[in-house]
Amino acid sequence: MARAQVGFLQGLFGSVPIVLAYFPVAVSFGVTASKSGFSVAEATFMSLVIYAGASQFLATTLLAGGAGPLLAIVSLLTLNARHLLYAPALLERVRRTQHGRQPLRTPWLWAHGLTDEVFASALGRLAIKDASWSERWQVGIGLGAYLAWVSGTAVGALLGGGAFERWPAVDAALAFLMPTLFLSLLLAMVQRHHWPVVVTAVVGFAVGSALFSASSGILLGMLAGGLVGMFLAPREAVQT
């Protein structure tokens, strides 16, 4: 029996959980960027062009901390390099569940929206028995999430760094969104064999920040953790 194709609107509707998750975090990013001295236009431009939450928080830390452009570019691209894995993993899952490879017509359009959460949602959809997938659905889910991220950033930046000065507990809670976001993302990503990577990254950060600066510590932690993971990866993960 042929499966009904899912389209753009189903994808847009499917983005609602991501929109609810993205908007408040994007507002927090806008407030953080404003506190770090970036204008509304700069914060919104960063969300429009880079569109990768963790690296945007890192970008504000690095650039506001006086890191040079080369260090910032290398750090941010290294952080975002994991996105190389998403399209192959997604398309392989599509091939398996849709009984063959679909010709791709608009990957240039939906690729920009292939963030951690959109990728995870697409895989979640494909894990459902007999669920179908289409590029229009992918454009829809990606567009909803993108608009939430960009508009949330603009709202946060418009509110400004001093928006919650009269409510220090709210201000503190918003500032603490970064650690809780990174802890949640870490818990979502980490598998049992990754714990040496996590420990190495934290030690690398501590050493780098003690010897040089916080931004150097982040870069050292990333690279040291990545190298440890490369050599400690389980055999099946390397061979598949």
Partner: protein, 114 residues
């Protein structure tokens, strides 16, 4: 908008777009195979390592500030926020819920102790 900021955003934005787009040109099994092996293991680990380093970097000013100023209540608030995030994520497997709840608990304990 200064030129340095603009250039960093554009270079990182274009690079990130290419990370997402170029593998679709290889596609499916061939792409998965290309990203397997040591390169794939490195890229998979570097994502985890990046987030771990960012977590440490975002916690460091909170904890260092609390400990050096003797405001142990702030450290307790951070502990409560992180434990809430951990427990909620383990319970519901929901990044947004765990993130927001952890920050809310931090703010609540911060308000109680300050």
């Amino acid at each position: 908008m200064n030129l340095e900021f603009f250039l960093v955003c554009v270079v990182v934005g274009v690079g990130t777009y290419l990370f997402r787009y170029l593998p679709t040109r290889i596609g499916g099994r061939a792409g998965a195979r290309a990203m397997s092996g040591r390169l794939g293991a490195f890229l998979a680990s570097v994502g985890v390592a990046s987030v771990a380093a960012l977590l440490a970097a975002s916690l460091e000013p909170v904890l260092a500030g609390a400990l050096t100023s003797g405001r142990l209540g702030v450290a307790a608030a951070a502990f409560a926020g992180l434990v809430t995030t951990f427990a909620l994520f383990r319970w519901r497997n929901d990044v947004a819920l765990a993130t927001m709840a952890g920050a809310a608990v931090y703010g609540l304990v911060f308000w109680l102790v300050s």
